[in-house]
């Protein structure tokens, strides 16, 4: 019985640590995808500026409040514009950015196909 109790305590200790770690991972992931707007070439995660520290607090508060990663991005985008996101969303001003690698890949594939397969035949 005593052993059983110990096992329950250990189980709870581990599960608390795990949930905290997951929350921290998500918090860091979000902070890494946000640009520190008053720093040069730093993410919110990297920076220790007043601005970045406040954003980190906001992320923690929103995560604790049950908000999702995307809800936090949307909130900050509403406040600071899309520039705060490192990963720009797919829209009319970024479609070229997103589609260009695919286009180049397809073009390169077509060139290779032409060189090696069609020529062989």
């Amino acid at each position: 019985m005593k052993l059983f109790r110990y096992l329950i305590v250990i189980f709870f200790l581990f599960s608390f640590n795990l949930s905290n770690a997951e929350n921290d991972n998500l918090k860091n992931k979000i902070a890494k995808n946000l640009r520190c707007l008053i720093c040069q070439g730093q993410s919110v995660y990297d920076s220790d500026s007043e601005f970045a520290n406040s954003i980190k607090i906001i992320i923690s508060q929103k995560l604790d409040g049950g908000q999702s990663e995307n809800q936090i991005y949307d909130f900050l985008e509403g406040k600071y514009g899309e520039w705060i996101l490192y990963d720009p969303k797919f829209n009319k001003s970024t479609y070229f950015l997103w589609l260009l690698p695919v286009l180049i890949f397809l073009l390169g594939g077509a060139i290779l196909l032409k060189l090696f397969i069609i020529k062989k035949n």
Binding site: L37, S54, I57
Partner: protein, 172 residues
């Protein structure tokens, strides 16, 4: 014939890509925030300066037509530069000045106000900077002009002669 078409096609594609990147090179890579966006006043709750009373944003901007919301701190050097302009605006009856004391200690902020005078009608406290984020502020000093619950102008950095006359033009 087919080969020629293919070559021309590739050259055209590369020229198009070249021009897009070339045009991109000429864009400024210095980020300048948009200062003329009309946004609603954010909804928040804040502690009044040097008091334990909590005030809601809807009770803060409900009387006068024009409000000036100024983010300041005693540790902020440019805030001292803009202080005379705030004192001048304080005398104007058309606008109410509200201060957001950003990440500051009450004692230091009080000393600052005793030394340079208090231009604000109400001061609220932002201990961890989260209210500043609600406003979309970048740091201190920053000023928002509010008319009928809408932010109509935003000045990032200290007020100067130019922004002061712009504010006067708006409110008069």
């Amino acid at each position: 014939m087919k080969n020629k078409f293919f070559l021309v096609f590739i050259i055209v594609i590369f020229i198009v890509i070249f021009f897009i990147f070339y045009k991109g090179l000429q864009n400024s890579n210095i980020y300048t925030p948009d200062t003329n966006v009309k946004k609603n006043v954010p909804i928040f709750e804040a502690k009044l300066f040097d008091s334990s009373q909590i005030i809601k944003s809807k009770n803060l901007f409900n009387k006068n037509n024009f409000y000036l919301f100024n983010v300041w701190a005693s540790w902020c050097i440019p805030c001292k530069d803009e202080h005379p302009f705030l004192m001048k605006l304080n005398k104007n009856k058309n606008i109410v000045l509200i201060g957001l004391n950003y990440k500051d200690s009450v004692l230091n902020a009080k000393n600052f106000l005793n030394k340079y005078n208090n231009p604000y009608e109400i001061i609220i406290q932002d201990i961890d900077g989260t209210i500043g984020i609600e406003w979309g502020a970048y740091g201190v000093p920053e000023t928002f002009i509010i008319n009928k619950d809408k932010i109509i102008k935003r000045i990032i950095g200290p007020l100067n002669e130019k922004s002061f006359s712009e504010i006067k033009e708006i409110i008069e």
